[in-house]
């Protein structure tokens, strides 16, 4: 995460905060904040894919959008290719836009139904380049080739395409300005399993071909294991664990990561028979997170300090970052499996 070793970070996020105000009452007074992203730090190395996983509402999509400054940040910094985009003026930010692009979740909603495929892919070229007409046409066709769309379909409209093909259109549009960094926000969630593999393979090919760096946001842990170099796990606005892919899946450290991995249904009837950690209750509201550790209301290994003190993120092994009191220096003896507090948890995740 804060490693300055060999691979250079292309994107550095430090203490990113994205709070949305809540206004209530007749006078619409500011009465609180939804802390969608609450102090997140990570690096994305040049040419790698950082997987960002978590359940719905954990803030992973907000985090992805905030990293591209599609929102005005509440706090923190985002450095992309040496520029802190959190503080850039709108004009300077606009000149940065070609470097950083996004692929959206819903290929239906993110394509204008009244624009043809050619117009959709060409739009970023119109906005950001001074290419001539013929050059643009040629570039659009090249992009269609790159994402595996038939050139003959350039004049068609999005409704004529299937979900997987629409996602290809969205990817071609993101590629149009030769970006270095692409945020993929659940790019395969809306697709059928047999189509998901096609899109994931395409993303991998393009990464190799164009030297792209991805932030891959997904709730699908098995797909992230396939595509990511390193994986960050989010829970209620925080990153609870960040580790290289194989380490994370082979030996998850944070109790939440363990529970999350254990909950993934596996296509193997024998493995399905093995006991799993089933978390009780639901995720607390980000408008009113619990005191102490955000996970303390559902954690199967909760200890007293968790209700009091918010754990800091620390590097517990080389390249592995965990925010959990079980890995505190003074609790080292207890270890991750040492204490088992079988306490009753409040089902709605509220603390009193």
């Amino acid at each position: 995460m804060r490693d300055t070793a060999d691979p250079r970070p292309l994107v550095s996020v430090r203490d990113l905060k994205m709070h949305f105000p809540i206004h209530t009452g007749l006078l619409q007074r500011h009465t609180g904040d939804v802390k969608a992203v609450d102090g997140v730090s990570f690096d994305v190395m040049e040419g790698e894919t950082l997987g960002l996983v978590g359940e719905s509402g954990c803030g992973k999509s907000t985090c992805g959008r905030a990293v591209l400054r599609l929102y005005e940040l509440t706090g923190g910094s985002v450095t992309i290719a040496g520029q802190d985009i959190a503080k850039l003026s709108q004009g300077a930010l606009r000149r940065m836009r070609p470097t950083m692009q996004m692929v959206f979740q819903d290929p239906q909603a993110s394509l204008n139904p009244r624009m043809s495929v050619r117009q959709i892919i060409q739009e970023p070229l119109d906005e950001h380049t001074r290419l001539g007409r013929a050059e643009k046409r040629e570039k659009v066709l090249e992009l269609m080739d790159a994402v595996g769309l038939n050139r003959r379909f350039a004049g068609r409209f999005p409704h004529a395409f299937s979900g997987g093909q629409r996602q290809r259109i969205g990817i071609a549009r993101a590629l149009a300005l030769n970006p270095r960094f692409i945020v993929c926000d659940e790019p395969i969630a809306a697709l059928d399993v047999s189509i998901q593999a096609q899109v994931v393979n395409l993303l991998e090919d393009l990464q190799e071909q164009f030297g792209l760096t991805y932030l891959f946001i997904s709730h699908d842990l098995s797909m992230v294991r396939h595509i990511a170099t390193r994986v960050a796990v989010m829970y209620l606005g925080r990153i609870v664990e960040l580790a290289p892919r194989e380490d994370l899946y082979a030996d998850p450290l944070h109790p939440y990561t363990r529970a999350l991995l254990s909950a993934v249904p596996e296509p193997d009837p024998d493995a399905a028979a093995r006991p799993r950690t089933v978390l009780t209750g639901d995720v607390p509201s980000p408008a009113n997170p619990p005191k102490g550790c955000n996970f303390c209301t559902r954690c199967p290994q909760v200890i007293d300090v968790c209700h009091e003190v918010d754990p800091e993120t620390r590097e517990v092994r080389p390249g592995r970052y965990v925010a959990c009191h079980l890995f505190d220096q003074d609790n080292e003896g207890a270890g991750p499996t040492g204490t088992r507090g079988d306490k009753e948890h409040n089902q709605r995740g509220e603390t009193t």
């Binding site: 359940e55 719905s56 059928d192 593999a197 596996e266 296509p267 399905a272 089933v278």
Partner: protein, 334 residues
């Protein structure tokens, strides 16, 4: 499941056609299966494979028109539901056959309390009085693991989280002691940790109440964890049918085989590259005269273009609709 047991539900030759502006769409083609008492039958397939329409048409939940049920027999408790009138069907739906839908957000009525929605089937189908219905509603909410059930009866759906709403939906479906529960992607809209809770709950309830369950999903992982027997659907047909262990250990249809390799896993080996099933699922504008999977099949043979394979038995309670396992072709060559 004991082989000799009388099935609670026996479906033969079900066909369902939709009339659209673009012509006919043959959504369900000659689907036959049975369901033993207490059994959990998994149905897998991609979107558009006909899995939901099949189950909806069993109990007359597809609107006609645009749909048309072209034939088939659905035997349930000694009568054919295809011949039953709307009144009869209404007494079966939500009574002897319970339903749980995918989206717990939209299947509950937002302007009624949860208590009223659970009591509705109890009063309509079982003729319970207000008081008795309320008591039973509390019992049901406790059964599906909602804490403080008596107090929460007065809450509205928006006061429940997604997982809790799905528990309420299950409570409603269980209200009248159904013999069969049809669950259509009940955990698809939920997070994995909540999905794990619902799967555990379902297994527990099945054991406790002894009902048969049809579980529709696109997730092979869910099927592996919960089903006894599995139907794999593609292009409106059942392409493979097998007990769950047999299906995962010894898949015989190329579509099932492809499906099993295309899904990455969180444990075990990691493929460097994902296996891809090229192409798109078919849209059937006419009754299939050839194998619906042929365009995407790596083992395509000339005969696949000429005829639609029937389901050939390949083992104990295991069959596959593919010419590769046709004894005539396997012996003599195509």
């Amino acid at each position: 499941m004991p082989d000799g047991a009388q099935p609670v539900l026996d479906v033969t030759g079900l066909q369902c056609v939709f009339h659209t502006r673009g012509g006919e769409v043959h959504a369900v083609n000659d689907v036959s299966f049975d369901l033993a008492p207490g059994e959990l039958l998994g149905v897998v397939g991609e979107s558009g494979s006909g899995k939901s329409v099949t189950m909806m048409s069993l109990i007359g939940l597809v609107p006609t028109p645009p749909a048309e049920l072209r034939g088939g027999r659905v035997m349930f408790e000694g009568r054919d539901l295809m011949q039953a009138g709307e009144g009869d069907l209404r007494s079966v739906r939500g009574g002897r056959i319970g339903f749980v839908f995918q989206d717990p957000m939209t299947s509950l009525n937002p302007v009624f309390t949860v208590g009223m929605q659970i009591a509705e089937p109890l009063r309509k189908h079982m003729g319970l009085g207000k008081r008795a219905a309320r008591d039973r509603a509390v019992e049901l909410l406790e059964l599906v693991g909602i804490p403080d059930a008596a107090r929460r009866l007065g809450d509205y759906p928006h006061q429940f989280s997604g997982g809790m709403r799905q528990r309420v939906m299950i409570a409603i479906a269980l209200a009248c002691d159904p013999k069969v529960l049809i669950a259509d992607e009940p955990t698809t809209a939920l997070d994995v940790t909540i999905q794990a809770q619902i799967l555990e709950l379902m297994k527990e309830l099945r054991d406790k109440l002894g009902m048969a369950v049809i579980w529709i999903t696109h997730d092979l992982g869910v099927i592996a964890g919960i089903a006894d027997r599995v139907l794999v659907m593609y292009g409106g047909q059942i392409v493979e049918h097998a007990p769950v262990r047999e299906l995962f250990a010894n898949p015989r249809h190329p579509y099932t085989q492809a499906l099993l390799t295309t899904v990455p896993s969180v444990r075990g080996g990691r493929a460097r590259r994902l296996t891809v099933i090229e192409g798109q699922p078919p849209i059937l504008s006419s009754p299939p005269a050839a194998c619906p999977f042929r365009d995407r099949c790596p083992h395509r043979m000339p005969i696949c273009d000429r005829a639609n394979p029937q389901r050939y038995p390949v083992g104990a309670r295991h069959d596959a609709a593919c010419f590769l396992v046709d004894p005539g072709i396997a012996a003599g060559g195509a």
